[in-house]
């Protein structure tokens, strides 16, 4: 079992233990792609909020490759994949009562998304 050492402490405290993975994994999407968030309701851990499920957005940034929280939380492996900043309009998320110019960005994993063609 690993042991925390004195030199590890500032790294841990300052980075919060990033789950970025140094692996070449092909991205499924490119910046500018229109994506549809999957309507999934797993009983286990996920970083996909309910309010985004079934909604359409646009990939704005490719953050790189990270551990997939849904499998990692269940001791089922890292399943490394790309994470994207996806932009949604407030109206897509909250309906016609939302302000027209408001937008929201969510960091979403490859496995949460499908391409809108």
């Amino acid at each position: 079992m690993p042991v925390i050492t004195k030199d590890l402490v500032p790294v841990l405290v300052n980075t919060g233990g990033s789950t970025r993975v140094d692996k070449a994994v092909a991205p499924r999407f490119r910046v500018g792609d229109h994506v549809l968030v999957r309507n999934i309701n797993p009983a286990h851990h996920t970083r996909l909020p309910r309010y985004a499920r079934g909604k359409r957005g646009i990939v704005e940034i490719d953050h790189g490759v990270f551990v997939f929280p849904d499998t990692s939380a269940q001791h089922q492996g890292e399943k490394p994949q790309h994470v994207y900043s996806v932009r949604f309009t407030a109206r897509e998320l909250w309906g016609p009562g939302a302000a027209e110019r408001d937008t929201l960005r969510l960091d979403l994993w490859d496995d949460y998304l499908d391409l809108v063609v």
Partner: protein, 103 residues
Amino acid sequence: MNGVHDLGGMHGFGPINPEPNEPVFHHEWERRVFGVMMAAFGGGHYNVDQFRHAIERMGATEYLSESYYEHWLASMETLLVENGAIGKDELAARQAKLAGKAG
């Protein structure tokens, strides 16, 4: 999991009142929870996703009524018992001792 932690878009929780000059810790026990959490994480007892999931597995009432570092403590208790690092009885005995209820 569709738990009570997934608060985005929910109404009725009242205003958010940011505290001016908020301290890093409001109580000494929070500082200790932070340290123990980092030590157990760095020691390989859990990863960040297991840690978050264990917070989400808290009872809904406890989740909504307890503070940020109480969530951390609840998660550590769950995970350290589950991986066998501490016994459930051992934890209960320690809690009782600290509460001044038993030896």
